[in-house]
């Protein structure tokens, strides 16, 4: 399995508090992604990064921000958590190259409950 860890694995927080999730990889892959998975919606892309300090929004980015100061770490921050952000969050990495087929490798996930 690809060397991807996520922390914390479980978190319970209260509405209005900031929350930061961490994704750490040991594969030196350039591309990193944050998804959320909810019943009935499959996985939806929140943000992704194509290099250190290079990030872009996905389809459900409102209420989330990201940062990538090192190749190996990609942080997802919920500025002010809401109950609608209760979900399972997955980080993924890939060694995508232009014009080639991309394979993403996923981390174990973080279960977040916002009360």
């Amino acid at each position: 399995d690809a060397g991807i860890t996520q922390s914390p694995r479980h978190k319970v927080t209260e509405t209005g508090t900031p929350v930061t999730l961490r994704c750490h990889q040991t594969e030196n892959h350039r591309y990193m992604y944050w998804y959320r998975q909810d019943p009935g919606h499959g996985l939806r892309l929140i943000h992704y990064s194509y290099g250190v300090k290079d990030t872009d929004k996905g389809e459900v980015s409102d209420g989330y921000s990201v940062s990538r100061s090192k190749t190996e770490d990609f942080l997802l921050t919920l500025e002010s958590a809401t109950s609608s952000q209760t979900s399972v969050y997955f980080c993924a990495i890939s060694s995508y190259t232009q014009g080639a087929e991309e394979t993403q490798y996923f981390g174990p996930g973080t279960r977040l409950l916002v009360l």
Partner: protein, 112 residues
Amino acid sequence: LAKTTQPISMDSYEGQEVNITCSHNNIATNDYITWYQQFPSQGPRFIIQGYKTKVTNEVASLFIPADRKSSTLSLPRVSLSDTAVYYCLVVGRGSTLGRLYFGRGTQLTVWP
């Protein structure tokens, strides 16, 4: 991105071959097909991907007919541990970086 349609659920018994078919009528010329597997409380795991004809690896085979409007994931001799959700994705080469649309997948249940 081409929309995919696959069965919501399938049942099988240990030792049987399982074929999960996915339809993707609007697949574009440069699109390729990828399958992922997801166990409860785990992230999706890449199984196999292909562009046309047949691809085989140590886990599964992927059959893609000439018109590429469908694909079939074949799992030989399934075991209880193959119980999982299987996702079929159509991905545009080079144009949809990061945009993997998983849909609802097929829940495969393997019975003893």
